[in-house]
């Protein structure tokens, strides 16, 4: 995403590599953040947001990875969260019920207490009114006297009412708001209670407007002088008349301290219990999951070791539960796997042994026949012409039989994976010179000149000289045989981590599609053609196997009537993967390349590209074969190598290429080679349709 924002920054794209490799340093990210997000005036809000999000998420990544990978953690955390929820819910319900129970009892007791109080207040008012009615005081005198009387009465009333419940309740009187006469009387309270602050306003309003008793919850506020904490309380109030029949409000306040204490005790107990339950549940979940996860992890570990080739690994099985069944099934599977692999290995060993025995058993009598035939052949001048010719034929065909047998045994050795590479640093120039001098007699007979190009510098690679020589001898002899008397050029080159030898002839060449088939066993270019030299038909197959054994490539290119080129590419050091070849597969002097140069503009090359059949894509991205020596052997035992071109990763490939200059994306295995002046040339060649065989 940072690429988006950075790509949007003008003039920066060119400076950045197309494909950022690896992790970017935080600094550069911030730089890009500034460029991309902030320097653009915050037009793109989302990148900034995403950046911030990523910044926040980054430290969490290991935790998230752990979460994804660890089922035990997942289960334990889920259990903890869920049990926490359950415990919380349970706690709320229980606490609610306890509170209701506690309050219900308190409210009932309070109500009866308050009712009694209200009745007592009414009674006292009535009694006082009867007394007042008896004296005959008049007007103002009576009124003043009455006020004094009322004040005293009210104080008396409050103290007498509250005296019954010292500490259990307090009594408060307040003047009724509707009563005009408030004059200092009415506001009374027992036990240092602040009368107005302790009675809620809405309750007073309700009592003003109604005659019945009402209750509400409140907090008792004490006078500052009393130095007492406020406490929760139930307040019950009623409008009552004084002896003058003026209304006033009488309240009973019942502190709920005790109930609150009980409730908080219950709360505390519940919280403690809940915490324990949650923790214990977590622990239980951890233990239980561990019982399941441990065998699963063990199975995973053992499966990994099994796949790494340690076939004798088994799980420990105890008991008869499901886990034990898993273990048993797993072990049975491993057992069968081991058995099968052993069978395959035995089979492979037997096959190799068989090949070896056949080799011996066949060769000993063949040796005798061979020697006898030679003795007869030597003496053929003494025979009559028919017998003499027979002796010649016998000797010739024995030669052929011998080389066929040798090639068959060689290829069966490859198939059995018994071929071993004995690589040591060799100078390819010497090998080439040996091969060329060996092929000189044949070349002379054919009127062909063999030229060696590129042998000024030593070309050293770690390779098996015997095998490389065999490959090159095969290529050179083939080139001479099919070169129709024209020159054969052997070209050497080294670049990067690779060395290459290309053998170019100007003979009949290859038809489209043949470039891959030449490597097939017993394949012949033209079945009708006379077999002048009597090759076995296995030479190039063996050469390909030899190249593959080196981790190298053997590839062919050819055009009908324009000759062909076979290229052997070897890694400079054994076990180093090849990336390209120093020599382009299609030679510079191919007919198409020359046509292109003469005309000065790209000639279509269409007719050939079209005729080249598209190959299955299997070979386009060859898998790098494992260097593990077991792997090919197993593969050889299980996969019949009927046609090496059919195997994935064996690189039979023909790529018809559009005439655009776009680089191929899939050409790495075919190898355009390390950068050289010919790289472009090689790239061109793929347009033409080439067959590459690698690995």
């Amino acid at each position: 995403m940072s690429r988006d924002s950075a790509a949007a920054a003008p003039g920066r794209t060119g400076a950045r590599p197309e494909r950022p490799v690896g992790r970017k340093a935080p600094g550069s990210r911030w730089g890009r953040f500034l460029e991309g997000g902030l320097l653009q005036g915050g037009v793109q809000g989302s990148p900034v947001l995403r950046l911030v999000l990523r910044w926040v998420r980054r430290p969490l990544l290991p935790v998230m990875r752990l979460w994804r990978r660890n089922i035990q953690l997942k289960v334990v955390v889920t259990t903890l969260l869920m049990s926490l929820g359950v415990v919380l819910l349970l706690g709320f319900v229980v606490i609610g019920q306890v509170r209701n129970g506690l309050l219900d009892a308190k409210v009932k007791a309070s109500q009866s207490q308050a009712t009694g109080g209200f009745a007592a207040a009414k009674q006292r008012a009535d009694e006082a009114a009867a007394v007042n009615g008896d004296d005959g005081a008049t007007g103002n005198e009576r009124s003043e006297q009455n006020i004094i009387q009322m004040t005293a009465w009210m104080t008396d009333l409050v103290s007498s009412l509250s005296s019954g419940g010292q500490g259990a309740f307090d009594v408060v009187t307040l003047p009724a708001s509707t009563g005009g006469d408030t004059g200092g009387r009415g506001r009374r309270a027992s036990g240092d209670v602040d009368p107005t602050a302790s009675v809620p306003e809405d309750l007073r309003e309700r009592i003003d407007s109604n005659t019945g008793a009402f209750q509400s919850y409140t907090r008792i506020i004490y006078n500052p002088t009393a130095d007492k904490e406020s406490q929760p309380a139930l307040v019950i109030g009623k409008q009552v008349n004084d002896p003058n029949s003026d209304p006033y409000q009488l309240y009973y306040l019942f502190p709920l301290t005790q109930e609150e204490k009980s409730l908080s005790l219950v709360k505390g107990t519940l919280a403690t219990a809940g915490l324990f339950v949650v923790v214990l549940l977590g622990a239980i979940a951890w233990l239980v999951v561990r019982q399941v996860v441990t065998p699963v992890r063990m199975a995973a570990g053992i499966a990994e070791r099994l796949s790494a080739g340690r076939l004798q690994e088994r799980m420990k099985v105890t008991g008869e539960d499901d886990i034990a069944r898993l273990g048993e099934a797993f072990n049975k599977m491993a057992q069968n796997l081991q058995l099968k692999i052993q069978q395959l290995e035995d089979l492979s060993r037997m096959q190799r042994r068989f090949v070896s025995d056949v080799s011996h058993e066949l060769r000993t009598p063949l040796t005798t026949v061979r020697m006898a035939a030679d003795v007869i052949h030597e003496a053929r001048e003494d025979f009559d012409p028919v017998t003499a010719r027979s002796a010649e034929l016998l000797a010739d065909q024995l030669d052929r039989f011998e080389s066929l047998l040798a090639d068959l045994l060689e290829i069966s050795r490859f198939d059995a994976g018994a071929a071993a590479l004995e690589a040591e640093p060799i100078d390819l120039r010497e090998v080439v010179r040996r091969v060329v001098s060996g092929a000189e007699p044949l070349a002379e007979r054919k009127g062909t000149q063999i030229r060696i190009v590129g042998d000024q510098q030593p070309i050293v690679a770690e390779a098996d000289a015997r095998r490389v020589e065999r490959v090159l001898r095969n290529l050179v002899v083939n080139a001479v045989e099919h070169g129709e008397g024209r020159d054969v050029v052997v070209k050497l080159a080294a670049a990067g981590g690779a060395v290459a030898v290309a053998v170019r002839d100007y003979g009949v060449g290859l038809k489209p599609g043949e470039a891959t088939r030449v490597f097939s066993r017993f394949w012949r270019a033209d079945p009708a053609r006379a077999r002048t030299t009597g090759g076995t038909g296995l030479g190039l197959s063996i050469a390909l196997e030899d190249a593959r054994l080196h981790g190298g490539w053997l590839q062919a290119w050819g055009e009908p009537g324009g000759g062909s080129q076979f290229r052997l590419t070897l890694p400079r050091t054994a076990d180093e993967p090849l990336r390209g070849s120093p020599i382009p597969l299609e030679p510079k002097d191919s007919r198409r390349n020359r046509g292109l140069n003469d005309a000065g503009l790209p000639c279509g090359g269409g007719e050939k590209a079209v005729t080249v059949p598209a190959q299955p894509t299997g070979g386009q991205v060859p898998a790098i074969p494992p260097r593990d020596p077991i792997a090919p052997r197993l593969g050889a035992a299980s996969v019949p190598k009927a046609d090496p071109t059919a195997l994935p990763g064996n690189g039979a490939r023909v790529v018809p290429r559009p005439a655009s200059g776009a680089r191929r994306q899939d050409d790495t295995p075919a190898g355009d080679g390390p950068p050289s002046e010919e790289a472009g040339q090689d790239e061109e060649s793929s347009r033409h349709g080439e067959a590459s065989r690698g690995r």
């Binding site: 060769r363 000993t364 005798t368 020697m371 018994a418 040996r434 015997r466």
Partner: protein
């Protein structure tokens, strides 16, 4: 040169047809073949016939060819040429390590076999008085002896030839192919493992420390040369 060449050849092979055919070919070339078909009797036959060369099949009833080769080599430096149907690395290398000078893979042509036998026997024909030095070794070519500080070192004829070839041109680096041609008498390149194995055998006898050779020095990527004397 054939006429006066000593040519007693012991053929150790269990295949009677092949043995007979070998006899025909060898007699035709002027050798005197004798035969033994059993590995257990091979050593007795060897002591009795005192051959100039042993042709030894690797697969034998009784003692196998490798064992026979080791036993013969323990008491004689006579050239041993193995006949083997297996050109696989291990068999050949094991055979060479057990003391064989050369090997020839079945099926072979009679001429090839004869050429190998002649190459192995040729050495004894040309005793020219010559004194060579290589490292701290003194080689008496005619006397066929190698000495270090007066102590003689026992070498097989092949190992001796190899050492002499190197010592004659101490300035030259010999490729394996050149050594094959000079010492084994191969016309064209064959199995360079022959050279490797025999250089190892030679080193184990003449070097003070075979791990760090001073007499026969490896030139990496090229071949071998004689160490400075």
């Amino acid at each position: 040169m054939m006429a006066f060449m000593k040519g007693r050849v012991l053929v150790v092979d269990d295949d009677t047809a092949l043995a007979e055919m070998l006899g025909i070919v060898l007699r035709g070339e002027g050798f005197e073949p004798s035969f033994v078909a059993d590995g257990d009797k091979a050593l007795a036959a060897f002591r009795e016939s005192k051959p100039d060369l042993v042709l030894l099949d690797l697969m034998l009833p009784g003692r196998d060819g490798i064992e026979v080769c080791r036993l013969i080599r323990a008491e004689s430096g006579v050239p041993i040429v193995m006949l083997t149907a297996k050109s696989d690395t291990v068999d050949v290398v094991v055979g060479l390590e057990s003391g064989a000078d050369d090997y020839i893979v079945k099926p072979f042509k009679p001429k090839e076999l004869v050429a190998r036998i002649r190459a192995r026997l040729r050495r004894s024909e040309e005793p020219a008085p010559e004194q060579l030095a290589i490292g701290d070794l003194v080689i008496d070519v005619a006397g066929h002896s190698v000495k270090r500080d007066g102590q003689s070192i026992a070498l097989t004829p092949l190992e001796f030839d190899l050492l002499v070839a190197l010592a004659r041109k101490p300035w030259q680096v010999f490729t394996r192919e050149v050594l094959l041609e000079q010492v084994w008498g191969y016309r064209h390149a064959a199995d360079t493992r022959l050279v490797n194995v025999h250089v190892q055998r030679l080193r184990s006898k003449v070097e003070k420390d075979p791990e760090r050779p001073e007499i026969v020095v490896t030139v990496r990527g090229v071949g071998y040369k004689a160490g400075p004397s």
